[in-house]
Symmetry: C2
DNA sequence: TTAGTTTTAGTAATGAGTACGATTTAAGCT
DNA sequence: AGCTTAAATCGTACTCATTACTAAAACTAA
């Protein structure tokens, strides 16, 4: 495990700054995302860690995923009634994704439609936006 | 009730074509959406009809909302873990929305980012996309 | 009106996500 | 290293949205 030890270490360090402790489970949770680089649901994460931590509780998974997302370590979205998370691509760089609905794998879309929206937003206090393209990747298309 | 009888009648007619029957509850469900022109959750709909149909079951609501959405009478989306529906704006015209997260009211965005996406989608079979801008409308901002 | 189908009420089941007390663990201090 | 305390975890129970099921009622078309 751990094709990207540096990035996980950076993430752990960032958490430490904020006062979060470095636990084995947290590290392993982050490594699942660092290794996969795909959108994963809580259940996917449980599945990925079931050998190492057979009784890993949902409380632990959900709480940590929220903490990670809150501090920018993971990107969060939801589709088909489930929250999904993925390792943050490159720190600070705003972007969007093409997402495979089956496996969660993504491809980056650098352009942001907000840059060219001409609609009048007067009166609205804008707090965020979502632009995602959905489909099936080469591998999942075949199956 | 029924500020938009024409549109509701058209919707009912469309359903009839497909073999669905014209029932009072279906009509009233559609009228809630025609009157509101906002994104509403199943619970919002139940609330809106609780006087006329105190015991309206969720089965009825969800089943009909799905039927409506499936045949293009309603637009469907989800945020904050809930499915939301709104009366389809203008038949056939592709567009997006600015959405108030509190009351579901919308403003149209005519431009579609898909028209100018330059990312290579080779390998991906694209099935759909989502572009939504979130915020708070004038009324909800105050409160 | 009658036959046949659709719809509905009422309720139960499912599944994602959240909450909480008791126990365990990490990290800082002496 | 041992002590302290604040955080993390487990195990479980709960909430909430959504879906599923069955008997009964309502509707359409002939």
């Amino acid at each position: 495990m751990g094709q990207n030890p540096m990035t996980v270490n950076q993430a752990i360090a960032k958490l430490k700054e904020k006062g979060y402790k470095n636990t084995d489970k947290r590290r392993d949770l982050l490594e699942v995302f660092a290794d996969e680089k795909r959108y994963l649901s809580a259940k996917d994460v449980q599945e990925a860690l079931k050998n190492k931590y057979p009784g890993l509780s949902f409380d632990t998974i959900y709480r940590n995923l929220s903490v990670f997302a809150e501090h920018g370590l993971l990107e969060e979205t939801e589709w088909e009634g489930e929250k999904k998370f993925r390792f943050t691509c490159s720190a600070g760089h705003h972007h969007h994704h093409i997402i495979c609905l089956t496996c969660g794998v993504t491809r980056s879309v650098d352009a942001c439609p907000m840059d060219s929206v001409s609609t009048n937003m007067e009166g609205f206090e804008i707090t965020g936006h979502k632009f995602e393209i959905y489909g099936y990747c080469t591998s999942c298309k075949k199956a």
